[in-house]
Each structure stands twice: as structure tokens, then as C-alpha cells.
């Protein structure tokens, strides 16, 4: 009799719990932005869809853990501080990165904490994100744990190679052709990178970066995937005013790296424009002649 009673009680509890189980579907980009705080600004990075038979009507929290591929937990949500969610009465609740991994409540360990503190990024590697809804009161599971692997690596903008910084070019050669070279975006992107090469003339009263930020570029060329461009300037380089501090015509050049939608490949690092650190070069009408005269 006693056994039957306990069986009935157990069956009742099980059926009640089953009725409250939440199904979840975690969608995570395979190569999200390296800057973790950027995940919240892009809804396409992480989406968690929660649903339950009937509707997710009760309250729940999300237990989120970041792991290395060997299963070591490197960061987890502090459940005492994470927000409590109330299910949407329509049946489906959709949450995004700021809800699932609120960085203000995520506790990272060891070198990962140090890396995040100094760079806002985790060391370049493969990781797993696991999420499970839990009961707010005792953190008891309310559904299956959902895990997704992802790869993090900072996008490094090109480094300008040639003309190298402060190179003095012979005007006679430069009037016909100037070769520009730069390193590719690293790591290699999933779609070909468009490199926007821009060359600005530095006017006598300007600093080089001031010229870059204010002048119309003499060359504004988009180059798909290649890392070299031969420019035929078709310019007669104007002489510099004798009062100017710089005695040679001066130019500043840079590369803007764009993705397939023509947006900067990285928007959170540095200037946010995806522009590489610019270099300057000079044009000398008398290069290799002055020394001999």
C-alpha cells in the first residue's frame, strides 16, 4: 500500500516537472566577434529560443558556462546576480547575448580573466558555450543543457609594407607608377576581403593624420583579395611652398579592410573604421641628383 502511495506521488511529481520542462535552442555564430562586449551589439551573434509545452510562463534564470574544448570551465554566470526571466505568454521566449551571458555577472578564471581584463577578448582558441534554464530559487534544472562550439580570434588589420614609412620616392618614377603592398587580414576571413586603398596629399599647413581626416583622397581604390596595387598617379607633383616646414610633397596612405557587405571587418578595435595605421611617403623631384650637385 505504502509502495503504491509513493509511486503515485512520484508519478505526480514527475508529470508536474515534465510539464514545466523548457525546451531551448541555442544559435551561436561559429566565429563571433573576439570582443565579448560586442556580442550584445549584434543580435545575429547569439540567439536563445525557449519554449515549453503550452508556454514558458514561469520564472527562470539562465546558467551559462564557457568552456574550453576539453570541458574545463573558464567562465560562468553568477546565478545569485543574473536576472530572472519570465516566460512569454505567447509560448516562445527569445533572448540574446546580453541576456544569456551578461558580462557584468560572468566570472572568469585565471588567464582568461586576465585576458578579458586587458583586452576584452579571450585567448584565440576554440570554446564551448553551454546554457541551461534553471529555477530561480534553488537553481534546479528546468531543461536540457544546450552547448555550441565557437572559435575566437582577433581580426588583425593589414600592416602597410610599401612604400615604407617616410620613404622618399623619386618623382620621375613616382609620376609613372607607385607600388603599394600590405599584409592580408588575419585570420583569413570566410569571404574575400575588399581592401580600400586611400592616398591623401598632405597640404603644407597640415599634419599627416589631419590630412587623412580632412582631405579628399587622390586615390580611393577598392581591391578585392589582392595585397598589391600599382598606382599610375597621373599627377604632376606640385612643388612645395618655400615657407612650408616640409620641403617635399608629402602623402599619407592607408588601407581600409571591408567585408562582403562593404563594412569594416572590425568595428570595435582601434578607430572603428577598419583602417590600418597609416604611413607617409615623400616625393623628391631631385632624388639621386641633389647629392651629385
Amino acid at each position: 500500500m505504502k509502495k503504491i502511495f509513493f509511486s503515485i506521488i512520484a508519478a505526480f511529481i514527475f508529470s508536474t516537472a515534465a510539464a514545466q520542462m523548457i525546451n531551448s535552442n541555442l544559435i551561436l555564430t561559429a566565429q563571433p566577434p573576439a570582443q565579448l562586449s560586442e556580442w550584445g551589439n549584434r543580435r545575429e551573434v547569439l540567439t536563445l529560443i525557449l519554449s515549453a509545452p503550452g508556454a514558458v510562463t514561469g520564472q527562470f534564470k539562465l546558467k551559462a558556462e564557457m568552456k574550453t574544448l576539453d570541458g574545463t570551465v573558464i567562465g560562468s554566470a553568477d546565478l545569485a546576480k543574473t536576472p530572472v526571466f519570465t516566460g512569454n505568454s505567447s509560448g516562445t521566449t527569445i533572448l540574446f547575448a546580453n541576456d544569456v551571458i551578461p558580462l557584468e555577472d560572468m566570472i572568469f578564471t585565471g588567464k582568461y580573466k586576465n585576458s578579458l581584463q586587458r583586452t576584452g577578448k579571450l585567448p584565440a582558441d576554440n570554446y564551448t558555450l553551454c546554457v541551461r534554464p534553471v529555477r530561480p530559487a534553488d537553481y534546479a534544472p528546468l531543461g536540457e543543457e544546450q552547448c555550441k562550439n565557437f572559435y575566437l580570434a582577433t581580426t588583425q588589420l593589414p600592416i602597410l609594407m610599401k612604400p615604407y614609412n617616410e620613404e622618399v620616392l623619386n618623382a620621375k618614377t613616382a609620376q609613372t607608377a607607385i607600388i603599394f603592398r600590405w599584409t592580408p587580414v588575419v585570420p583569413r576571413q570566410t569571404s574575400p576581403v575588399t581592401y580600400r586603398l586611400q592616398v591623401f596629399e598632405v597640404l603644407p599647413a597640415q599634419s599627416p593624420v589631419q590630412a587623412l581626416r580632412s582631405n579628399q583622397p587622390l586615390l580611393d581604390k577598392e581591391i578585392l583579395a589582392a595585397t598589391q596595387f600599382i598606382w599610375q598617379p597621373q599627377l604632376s607633383f606640385a612643388p612645395v611652398d618655400s615657407n612650408a616646414t616640409r620641403k617635399l610633397p608629402t602623402f599619407i596612405w592607408t588601407i581600409q579592410s571591408l567585408d562582403k557587405e562593404k563594412k569594416p571587418v572590425t568595428q570595435t578595435d582601434g578607430n572603428g573604421e577598419g583602417r590600418s595605421e597609416p604611413l607617409i611617403f615623400f616625393i623628391d623631384p631631385n632624388k639621386n641628383i641633389r647629392k651629385n650637385q
Binding site: Q35, S37, E38, P102, L103, E104, M106, S115, Q117, R118, T119, G120, K121, L122, A124, A153, T154, L157, M161, Y164, K172, T173, T176, A177, I179, R181, T183, P184, V186, P187, R188, Q206, S207, V209, Q210, R213, S214, N215, Q216, P217, L218, Q228, I230, Q232, Q234, L235, S236, A238, N243, Q267, G270, G272, R275, S276, E277, N288, I289, K291, N292, Q293
Partner: protein
Amino acid sequence: MMRNKIVTAGIFIFISSSASLAQEVKEKVKEKLKVSGTMGITYEGYGLSRSPSGWTGYQPRRPWNQVRFNFTPTFNLGQHFTLPFNFNFAAIPTNFAGPYAGIKKQNFGQFITNPMNSFGINPKYKWAELQLGTQYLKYSDLSTGDIGVFGIGFDLRPKTWRFKFFNGISQQGINYFAGTPTVTGAYKRRNYMFQIAKEAEGKYLFAINFAKGKDVPASSAPPPLTIRPQEGVVISIVSDVYVEKGIYFKAEGAQSTFTKDVATPLTTLLKGLKPFMEAHTSTITDFAGQLSVGKKSTNFDIGLTSKYLGAGFQTVGYPYQQSDRLDYTLNTRFNGWKDKNKTYKINVVASVGRRVNNVRNTALKASQFIGNLNWFTQFNDHWSLNVNYNNFGFQSASGTNPFGIKNVSNDLGFNPTYTWSNTKMNHLISLSYNYSKYDERDVITGLTTSNNTHTALLTYVPSYFDRDISPDFSVLYFYNDVPLAKIKLFTISSALSMTAAKKRLQLRGQLQYTWGKLNSFSSNNNLIASCNVDYKITKKLSWNTFLTTNYFKYGNEITPIGANYLETMSRTGIQYSFDTKKIIR
């Protein structure tokens, strides 16, 4: 009565003595006032005519019209007071990069702070300088220096002390606009900075620098799409020591605390920099340092420079600085081979270095080797040879691809020159040959593509001893060979400089023709003509004009076949020079 006379006489004496004193002061002021610098106005016009009609394969590369103004006099009153003005501004905004990119209509605040305009006044009395308006202040290599800030501050230099402070706005709020051209938009950014230092020029410098920038989130509506409101502080310590015999030691260490998005939540889990800024979830704190030691002398320099920028090091003062790197470079320069006149015949400038990325392991490891050599030898009165070599190698893993990235650029150049002269003129013939090789490995197949470029330039420059005329002639051959593309260019050019009107008129003209060919397509042709006319109207007033025209006709490498364009650029301006160096009376 007597009393009235005395008072009247007293007043008269006072007035007359005051007047004479004022006159004396005025005279002295006039005697001591000196003015230097220039002011002027320049017009630039651009024209582009493309054919066939409707073809847009070549885009304009200058503003159609632009007017630039400059007003940069410096008033010197006595030995101790100077009042320099630095007003440089343009009528039409032409920003393509940075916070003002795309802006066409600007309000007064945007006009004042647009980086294309400067409005600065720096009155200075002895060691005290007041800084008003636009200032480009470089405190150090790691704190601030690249951007202009409009505001107010000072630079005080009593004895060996340095106290600097500046507070202002480096950019105004700019609304995002999705039209053509797109206006990227920007948040208004407030900056302030200070420096406390002790310095004896040529002996030592010890400085503490502080620079902060903070965006105003509500300053643009609609806000920029891709840029977040930011906040950053950098603190740096500079220590430079110069000892005898040209030996120097320079070091700077810096810490930056930077919030990439001030809209992200506050957190106690990350470090802020109170009381200057609080920590958000996007706040990062990292370090940078640079060190250089070396020796400089007349005939021999050597120096070792190292620079480290942590992956999270970011400042508002250098917006284009790329972080996450460690550079070290060895530079040298020396003269050698003395002739009988004890003149050095050899000059060598060389550097070798390496740059490593991935300092914080947040990115794929990338390593670069950089080497430069320039060797000049004057063999005798006639012959000289310049040899230069440059190498830049880049290596990195490429994620999941089977092969890593490897790009290597090599340049090797020879430039022999022969000069000879007679009683009437000097002749110079210079040949320059450069071989440039660029190897790039495909990360999928592992195959390396070589890109080879040969450039040969022959120049002849006759110089007349008794004539104000200087011509030069040159021919150039350029050949670039890469799989699937071969480019040949052949250029002939000539220039002529001369003076006229009792040397008040300086003229220079240049004509250049280039024949080009891509693969087996028909050739393209390019003709460029330009001239400068600088006329000195009076001792103080000059009129400078530069005109150039460029005609380019494509072969059948593009459609429509026969496409061509004519580009013209003119620049003319009047400049008034205050630079008399004479006492104004």
C-alpha cells in the same frame, strides 16, 4: 585764484606728461613690434571630362572648387611677448575618413572643429603660453599627439619645470545619414590633458602625462551605426636622458583604460580608473612601453629601439595606432672612406628589425622581418653609386587553412651617376634600376606567387653656369609580371625651369607622355602637362599659380572601348608676407 592756477597747471603738466609718456610708450611699442608670417587666399579648381558620355569608370579625385584661407602672422613685442596666429581653413568640407567623413553641411561648431580647419592663437610671455583654439599637442608618443582639439589651455615653462593643461573638443556630434555620400556620424568628444615635467633641453626630461577623451552619447541623432560612444584615459611616464658623447636613453611607459562602449553595463568585475572613469563590461586596461638607447655623432649613429603595445592598449590621442605588437629595431648610420681632402666618400644608412604580433595571444601569431639598407659612394668627382635594399617579410598562421600566410617583399636598387662639366655648363647623367619581388603564398594550395617588377630610369640634367634656365630630360621603363597580368609602361618626360622679369617671375613647365600596355590588350596613352608661375608682385606680395592637365586614353582593356578622360587642376593664390624683420615706424 592762485590755487586754481596751480591745479590747472598741475592738470596741464599731468596731461602733457601723460600724453608725452603715452607717445613715448607708443613709439617704443612701435619700435619693438615685429611681425612675421603670411596670410593669403588660394583657389583650387578641378575639372573632369569623361568620354563616352555617361561612362563613370574614372572618378573625380579632388573637390570641384575649393577656397583656402590662411592667416598665420606672428607678432613679436619686445623680447618676451609673442602672439602667433594659426588660422587655416577651407570653404568646402572634403572629409573622407574619420569622424567627419561624408559631411557636406556643417554647423558652426562642426566647422570650427573640423580637422580641415585650424583656428589657433598662442600668446606667449616669457615662459608662459596661453593656448586658445585649435591645437595639435603632442605630449608623448604613447599619450596624445595625432588629433587636433579646439579649446583652451596653457603651457608654462618656469626654469626647468613644465606644466601643461588643455581642455576642449576634438569632434562635434554628427548625425548619421544614409544617403549618398553616407555620413558615418560621430559622437561629440571632450578631451582634456595635462603634463607635469622637469626638463633641461639636451640633458634630461622627466614627464608625467595624462590624457582623457569622453564621448557624449546623446550628441548625435540618429547616432552612428557602427561606432559606439567611448571613453579613454591614458597615463604615461617619460624619462629621457642625454649624456656626453651623444649617448641617449629614452623610455616611456603607459597604461590605458578604455571603454569601448559606454552604453554597456557598469561592472565591479573589471578595473576602472576612479575617479577618472568607471568600469563597464567593455572596459579594458592594458600597457605599453618604448625604449631607445643609442649614440649619435657626426659620422656615426647607432640606436636600438623597442616598442611594445599591449593588445588592449588604446588611446584617444592616436586613433590609428595598431596595438598588440612588439617591435625592435637596430638603426645605424655612418660615413667612411676619407679622401685626401678628408671628405667622406661613403654614407650608409641601415636598419634591421622584427615585429611580433599576438602579444596577448588573442590573435594568430604574426611575425615580420624588416630590413633596409642605403649605401652611397662617391668614387671620384665624376662617378657615384647608390645601392638600396629593402626587405619586409610577414608570416602568420591562417586559422583552419592548411598553409600559413607568408608574404615577402624585396626591393633592390642601383643608381650610378656620372657628372662632368666644362666652362659653360655641368652635365649629369643618372641611371636608376630597381628590381622588386613580392612573393605571396596561397593558404589553400601552398603555392607561392611571385610578382616581379623592373624599373629603369635614365635622367639627364644639364646646368648652365651663365643662364637662368634649367632643363631636365628622362626616360623610364616599368615592367610588372605576375601570373595572368603583365604591365608595361614607358615614359618620357622633360621639364624646364627659368626666371624672368628680373627674377621676379619664376616659371617651371613639365611635359610627360606615358605609353602603357596590359597583357595583349591594345596600348593606353597618357599625356600630362603642367606649369608653375610664381610672380613676386612686390617684396611682400606674391602670386603663385599651378596648372596641370592630364589626358588618359584606355586601350581595349576596358569597356567601353576607346574610353578616355581629361582632367584639369588649377591652383592660384595670393600670399602676403609679413616677414619684414624691420622695425615698423
